[in-house]
């Protein structure tokens, strides 16, 4: 490939193939990244077949080979284990008992928020956030440089805070919570667990077959999981698409209102009793602001490592933590509906 015309040409020619879902050419590295479901054909077979479509270029599968940096794990594994240990220790020390108020003020709601962000809720909201933000940066480090690099993260936090304010107000005004039933909660937490598991495995960067493994799972899950990694690839030529992509992190932020977290649900129940829009909105806002510091540290940690030689260690550590949190969530969701007996106890 020599010029930008080649980029457009190869992309459009490759997209014509029925099994190709997306093709993205890169002039700098002279590679084309092709995503699609090719069944069990080998790379060489796929490359040969797709080369037939190209009028002026040929494809080779060589660049697919990528070295796995196993030595990163020597540092990543102890850090991940240490992190989980501190997490378990915090729960064992009874951090959730620090709230002793029986009357809820905005100050209490803020403190409950801080404690919630350090409790097992971190395994849900924090794990999801960590897997997302690490995946942004990991997926394409080039877009993480420059001023717009914080955009998806800021949109996530903004979406979360605004949603808590508005939905809190709505609950307060209506006097009825839109809590999900036990089946809804189960489906949601299982879904979140599976998405985190896929993202976590991808972050480890060792299984190049994860993408081929994904179609084995319900398609809509794998599609969601993969689209997360494309969230911040904004292309100015496609305004509608880039708007939709920019919106995704904000929508995930909004969705955290409904994620299974005891503290969030308690605050929602309390909000019911306020009986007014402003009372409810401000209580939930104070709670969301309380959770912000810890969540912000989690989401922005990904940027501190961009381009540094330690980036591989960071992504593997994040991947391991996300995988452990994902398993924790999946096991717990099975416990709640009674499929398996209790496994953990904090």
């Amino acid at each position: 490939m020599h010029c930008n015309a080649c980029v457009t040409l190869t992309e459009s020619e490759l997209s014509e193939h029925p099994q190709v879902t997306s093709a993205k050419s890169n002039l700098g590295t002279r590679t084309v990244k092709i995503c699609g479901d090719f069944g069990d054909k080998s790379f060489d077979e796929v490359a040969k077949e797709l080369s037939g479509l190209l009028s002026q270029h040929t494809l080779s599968a060589e660049s697919e080979k990528k070295a796995v940096n196993w030595s990163d794990f020597k540092i990543a594994v102890p850090i991940a284990l240490g992190f989980i240990f501190v997490f378990v220790l915090l729960q064992k020390l009874g951090i959730v008992n620090l709230v002793s108020a029986s009357k809820v003020t905005y100050g209490t709601a803020f403190v409950v928020g801080i404690i919630a962000s350090l409790s097992t809720c971190m395994a849900v909201v924090g794990g999801l956030l960590l897997s997302m933000s690490a995946t942004f940066v990991h997926g394409d480090p080039s877009t993480s440089l420059g001023a717009s690099k914080f955009k998806p993260q800021i949109l996530f936090h903004l979406g979360r805070i605004v949603a808590f304010f508005i939905l809190g107000g709505v609950i307060g005004a209506l006097g009825s919570a839109f809590a999900l039933g036990s089946t809804g909660t189960f489906v949601l937490s299982l879904l979140v667990g599976l998405v985190m598991l896929v993202l976590g495995i991808n972050l480890l960067d060792i299984f190049h077959f994860t993408k081929r493994l994904m179609p084995a799972m319900p398609k809509f899950i794998s599609k969601r999981a993969l689209s997360v990694s494309k969230m911040n690839h904004t292309r100015p030529t496609e305004p509608r698409q880039s708007f939709g992509r920019a919106l995704t992190p904000a929508l995930v932020g909004v969705a955290t209102f409904f994620l299974p977290c005891g503290f969030t649900q308690s605050m929602q129940l309390y909000t019911l009793t306020t009986g007014s829009f402003w009372g409810g909105a401000l209580t939930m806002l104070a709670f969301a602001l309380g959770t912000l510091p810890v969540l912000a540290i989690l989401s922005f940690s990904s940027f501190s490592v961009v381009g540094s030689p330690k980036a591989g260690v960071f992504f593997k550590t994040a991947g391991l933590i996300v995988i452990l949190f994902a398993l924790f969530n999946i096991i717990n969701s099975l416990v709640v509906i009674g499929l398996i007996p209790p496994v953990f106890s904090f």
Partner: protein
């Protein structure tokens, strides 16, 4: 190199230890607290809900109409949401105060429940 191996081993031991102590049913922890009483022919099992459930394991009589009474005081964590799959119970407790859950007339066996997210378990042994 040597340092990383040592730190891996230490971290591994810490994890195993932490998991050991956070197992659902540690051996020898049978709280024989006086939390079961009978009033007017109804058996009442009292369980405190805050940052988990105490006692974690209660022993009660089978074959009596039974109520499980959850006591809360400023409980904002997960334990404010009780889930008992075998009774089809999935319920929010009062922020502070008592909440009764009717357990019917249990047969001999163990009733298992957890909080709404699954990490705080409790059980009641109904003995004949």
């Amino acid at each position: 190199m040597k340092g990383t191996i040592i730190s891996s081993i230490v971290a591994g031991l810490l994890i195993v230890g932490a998991l050991y102590y956070s197992r659902a049913n540690p051996p020898g922890v049978t709280d024989n607290a006086n939390n079961v009483k009978i009033e007017n022919g109804t058996q009442i099992v009292e369980i405190r809900a805050k940052g988990g459930y105490t006692p974690r394991k209660s022993v009660a009589k089978a074959g009596l109409p039974t109520i499980i009474r959850f006591e809360t005081s400023g409980t904002f964590d997960c334990s404010a949401f009780v889930s008992i799959p075998s009774l089809n119970v999935s319920q929010a407790l009062a922020l502070s105060g008592n909440t009764d859950i009717n357990a019917g007339t249990p047969a001999v066996g163990t009733l298992q429940g957890t909080c709404g997210m699954g990490m705080y378990p409790f059980e009641i042994d109904f003995e004949g």
